[in-house]
């Protein structure tokens, strides 16, 4: 019986690509790829702890690039950020398929892994877009515009440039409370940061200790606008909920003040 391999890695995209490299190099029959915490020893399987190696990762990425459309590469990257369990195996199967064929196949949605990856990417894309819409900055006492979010998928890396282009002349921070890291623009560059946040800071409102004295007034003005722009005789709560799923309400000043 051919031995089956379970790979574990550090949870980064580079780490995952190193796994792919290792699988090819050692001709492994990979059955699972896990971010390191959840590896368990099993009968008839060999466990490999893969150490991230940026040179190896790059080689995989470059050979993928040659055979994959921009949309296909984006799908791979975005699906990876979905953090959906066992997504690595789908990605791995798709990559094997791409590398095995001579023509580009990354848009072949009749292949199960390609389809699964595209579907996951689509979900991530949707949340990326929602975060670009639903982030609500609050002006702090020290003139930094601060927003906290808790997205289902790890989308901060994907929304970086959007906010950088848009808010070039104000300092801002967008913080992922769930993953405990954020991105911060200091008028020169966007950096990844990690903070010890007082739970008081919350996701909306404006406790005086941290926020500018006019902050609550603007939240109220926005609320007023939101209320006044509604047309009661066209009410459609089903549609409203569909577009503004309840799980996002906590971010929205107009729903959560």
């Amino acid at each position: 019986m051919e031995q089956q391999a379970v790979l574990s890695y550090d949870g980064t995209l580079e780490g995952f690509l190193t796994c792919v490299f290792t699988a090819y190099e050692e001709k492994l029959k990979v059955v699972a790829i896990n971010a390191s915490e959840n590896t368990t020893q099993q009968l008839f399987t060999a466990s490999y702890e893969v150490i991230t190696h940026s040179g190896k990762a790059k080689r995989v990425w470059l050979s993928l690039k040659k055979k994959t459309s921009a949309a296909g590469l984006r799908d791979l990257k975005w699906a990876f950020l979905s953090e959906i369990s066992q997504m690595e195996m789908q990605l791995y199967r798709m990559i094997r398929y791409i590398l095995a064929e001579n023509v580009p196949v990354d848009r072949d949605f009749s292949h199960p892994a390609v389809l699964k990856v595209a579907q996951a990417a689509k979900k991530v894309g949707r949340e990326k877009h929602r975060m670009e819409a639903f982030v609500r900055f609050r002006r702090t006492r020290d003139e930094v515009y601060f927003a906290a979010i808790e997205p289902d998928f790890n989308v901060l890396p994907l929304i970086k440039s959007h906010f950088k282009n848009r808010y070039a002349d104000q300092k801002w921070i967008i913080y992922d409370l769930k993953r405990n890291f954020g991105i911060a623009w200091d008028l020169a560059a966007v950096n990844y940061i990690s903070l010890d946040l007082d739970p008081e800071v919350g996701i909306s409102g404006a406790p005086e200790a941290y926020f500018h004295s006019s902050e609550i007034a603007f939240q109220q003005l926005w609320n007023q606008y939101f209320t006044s722009t509604n047309i009661k005789s066209r009410a459609n709560s089903k549609l409203h909920l569909q577009q503004l799923p309840k799980r996002y309400w906590k971010y929205l000043t107009e729903k959560n003040l």
Partner: protein, 419 residues
């Protein structure tokens, strides 16, 4: 800033502006290259949704709801007994900037009742846009409503600062306009449209040769028509829309189901329902014209003055043209793929991509995400089983309606469910 006073004005002047349905903030290319505030180079973003399901992407307000005119269908009309208010230019600028900095909005949609005369009002709208661009270094989206009757010079200036300009035609037929907006003349709408169109054309030509030509209304112009206020047919509405698209290079025509705002013998009664489904069908028809290669005469004509409310216009067209179907998914050219009920633009592209690799069967198609309950009667593919061969169109329509009851009957939003 006197927040309480501003809040009151906001409640009055947002309330009065809400009937304008145009909300799109896409289609402009104003990059933030100045390290200033804002960027409108991407797709527009809906930052929120009202409880009636419409997208909130712009701060949409009137500069004032004082008006010297008396259009029957409008809350702001002179004879309506309501609270009046007016924003100062600087107040609108401040609100826009503070809302934008908090990521509430993509920009400003500024309209107005007519203060004194068309030019006086237009001038103030322009002042707001000018301040935002020149003093605040603002690159977000600005949509200005052109006041019917405003002069050519002002229309030219407006386009230098705004991304989009619109004149709302509101009533699709000349006779309806005469009846409901006696103060307005058809020419008053057409003249600014003509001016904007010509300026855009001129800008495009000049910018080929002169790099520094200032941008002119980069997101083009749009207009809006009220549906169901003056007894017009769907054909009247869509032929007007088609005319504006072709003649004035409109980027968008919006359709707005009439919300009763006045007791008036010329208008539907105050308690009549907003024709939401009809509005939705008009938008679907609009999409078919703009993206699916349909000619207006195929969808509405002497025999079909109004759209079918029960089924979407593409299905309705297909049911009238059964001789063209069924088509083979694996062979038929793209133009005809686009005409199959239940298959939208995205699915068409997926089919075109996927069929390069293998012949598609029912299973592939439903995985791709096409609405099989409609599509299956109009296609063949790499599967053996066919649907009932030659059922009558009437029979088919009933079957499709039955199998899709939830989706069709409750489809009342302006958010489109597209084919």
């Amino acid at each position: 800033m006197d927040y309480e006073r501003i809040k009151e004005k906001l409640s009055i002047l947002a309330d009065a502006a809400k009937y304008d349905v145009s909300c799109s903030s896409s289609g402009s290319k104003r990059k933030n290259t100045t390290k200033g505030l804002g960027d409108s180079s991407g797709m527009g973003i809906c930052h929120s949704y009202t409880e009636d399901g419409r997208c909130v992407s712009l701060l949409k307000i009137l500069l004032t709801n004082h008006c010297i005119f008396d259009c029957a269908y409008c809350v702001t009309r002179k004879s309506n007994d309501i609270k009046r208010a007016a924003f100062k230019v600087q107040e609108v600028v401040d609100l826009t900037i503070h809302f934008y900095r908090r990521n509430y909005i993509e920009g400003l949609f500024l309209s107005s009742g007519i203060f004194k005369d068309a030019d006086y009002t237009m001038e103030r709208l322009i002042q707001v846009a000018k301040k935002l661009r020149l003093e605040e270094n603002f690159n977000g989206y600005i949509h200005l409503k052109s006041i019917p009757g405003a002069s050519d010079e002002l229309m030219r200036e407006a386009g230098l600062y705004a991304d989009r300009l619109s004149v709302n035609i509101e009533i699709p037929t000349k006779s309806g306009l005469k009846l409901l907006a006696p103060d307005k003349k058809h020419e008053d709408f057409i003249k600014p449209m003509e001016k904007v169109k010509n300026e855009i054309i001129q800008y495009k030509q000049e910018s080929l040769f002169i790099k520094s030509t200032p941008k002119y209304a980069p997101a083009g112009q749009s207009t809006q028509m009220i549906v169901g206020a003056s007894g017009e047919s769907d054909r009247d509405i869509m032929y007007s829309a088609n005319f504006f698209y072709k003649k004035y290079n409109m980027k968008r025509v919006y359709y707005s189901g009439y919300v009763p705002v006045a007791e008036d013998p010329r208008l539907p009664a105050l308690n009549s329902k907003v024709p939401l489904l009809r509005e939705n069908r008009l938008y679907q028809t609009d999409w078919l014209l703009r993206f699916y290669g349909f000619d207006i005469r195929e969808l509405l004509n002497e025999q079909n003055l109004n759209l079918d409310l029960e089924v979407d216009p593409k299905l309705s067209w297909a049911l009238r043209n059964r001789h063209l179907f069924p088509v083979n998914i694996n062979r038929v050219e793209k133009q005809l793929l686009l005409r199959i009920p239940g298959i939208g633009l995205k699915s068409v592209n997926k089919i075109v991509q996927a069929r390069k690799f293998r012949k598609l069967n029912w299973e592939h198609l439903s995985k791709i995400g096409i609405a099989m309950n409609r599509a299956k009667y109009f296609i063949t593919c790499d599967s053996r089983e066919f649907e009932v061969k030659e059922p009558s169109s009437e029979y088919l329509k009933n079957v499709i309606l039955k199998t899709s009851s939830g989706k069709f009957r409750k489809e009342t939003g302006t958010q489109l469910s597209l084919f």
